[in-house]
Amino acid sequence: MSSFPILLIYGLSDGAVLALAALGFVLIYKATRVINFAQGEFLLIGAYTFYAAFVLLALPWTLSIVLAVAFAICLGIAVERFVLRPMVGEDAMRVIMVTVGLSAFLKATVQMFFGTAVREMPPVLPNQAVSILGGQVPMSRLSVIGVALVVLGAFALFFRRSRHGIAMRAVADDQQAAMTMGISVRRVFALAWALAAMSAVIAGVLLADVTVVGQDIAAFGLIVFPVVILGGLDSVAGTIIAGFTIGVIKQMVAGYSDPGLAEVVPYLILVAVLMVRPYGLFGEKRIERV
């Protein structure tokens, strides 16, 4: 069963979801310098809103996706406006605590509506087995990689070509310079949160489709931290590469050695990276001035 190609595909699909989730995290960090501990809960919210629309309201899956994404955008903007904006200029630790509190709040809200029991969801992506490199893997795992790559590509295109994407990069680079160019920093902050929530929701829906809808999705979201540290906190490309790397390593350890160990391996990597290269693989090296 645990042959190399299967583990590779599983790892890559996990990694694709991780890359999407981590992309949102990096977006927020780059634009607003906020460490968002609630990223995992955004995944959770995404999975549950999709579940509610698709299964409970029996809407077609296309409409459910649109609903989930729309909800995510509203949530992201609301969080930015009402939770983070009052914290602008506050001490980093206080901001961290606010996002930690936000994550507890979001998780509790989901539990209030849906309970803690794991829900099964009828598959959206086709899940018949296909053989690849001599191993049998479900089609949905391959589709997840495809969908994630398309979304990641769309994001990359957005940053490179669109006005708003370029404005976001300008703000990430230098807020004051961006302001003097007439860019609304507030709008960019809101946009960053909206996009982050959107990518997290897509990640959540994909993850729910290949696994189940349950609280574990938020725990999966915690692995975002090793990913962003490995990639360098402020590098989008690094994050995507790191996402795939961590996903594959995790599956390989789970398959060849010990599933329990696989849960901590990302964090061991994290500590090692922090000790050797604190700015990650592709992060910007920063020099502190007194």
Partner: protein, 298 residues
Amino acid sequence: MATATGIYQTSYKAELALRHTRAEHVRLGLTVAFLIALPYFAGSYWLGIANTVMIAVVGAIGLNILVGFTGQISLGQGGFLAVGAYSSAVLTAKLGLPVPLSVVSAVLLTAAVGAFFGVPALRLKGLYLAIATLAAQLVIIFVVRRWHWLTDGKGFVDVPRLEIAGFRINRTVFEWQWYWILLPIAVLCVVLARNLFRCGIGRAFMAVRDQDIAAAAIGINLTRTKVLAFAVSSGFVGLAGALTAHYTETVTWERFTLDVSVLYLAIILVGSSVTPCGHRFRFSPSSCRPFRTRCSVR
């Protein structure tokens, strides 16, 4: 109650005093009277809450030394509590060590573990350190869950009823007796921590918090200070963990999850106050933490 408006000392001896105004002395007297009187009018339910609060006070003081006074964010509190609780429990239950000895060993062991996980702090700051300590939390809990010899495969450790030199806790007056054990310990910890910041080590901690490069420039050894801060802080936290183990008489890993780390950070944030010059967390007299800690620490 009136507070001081400025510094009006006329002698060095007066300046050294912990309390300067009459109001502060009155407040101290009232607090002492309340703490001594409490067990005589509170039922065992309220005493149980008081006991849990006092254990949380010890743990929160430990975290505050690190976060509030040295400025190193830690999300690993739950993990360090676990180290203290498990080591004291195993030393007592398996090796049959006397309780005071196993508690002291637990404190030392947790301090050592804390110092080890403090090493990344030499290179990391702020957010990076928060994430590194998050890793410490998850790794410690993983190790604890994996070491089956710790729990004989049961998943929890049974700690025998507290017994010190022939004195044994009585079921019927359980909370009462524990109150008189925990109260001196908690008070001692508060006084100890309060005085720590009146001596050189504590001042060095605060200098590192305010500006670590400037601290190095005035001759503070950054490596030593940061590792020491982690060790001292973890020592207190280990004590809290060991007390939890003996007080609740079982140790399971569920009691030391990431949520607990977050809860403790919330405790010191709520209990702290901000002064105009920068962010400065102070001890608040253990006021704000009763009910929530009871829910999750017990």
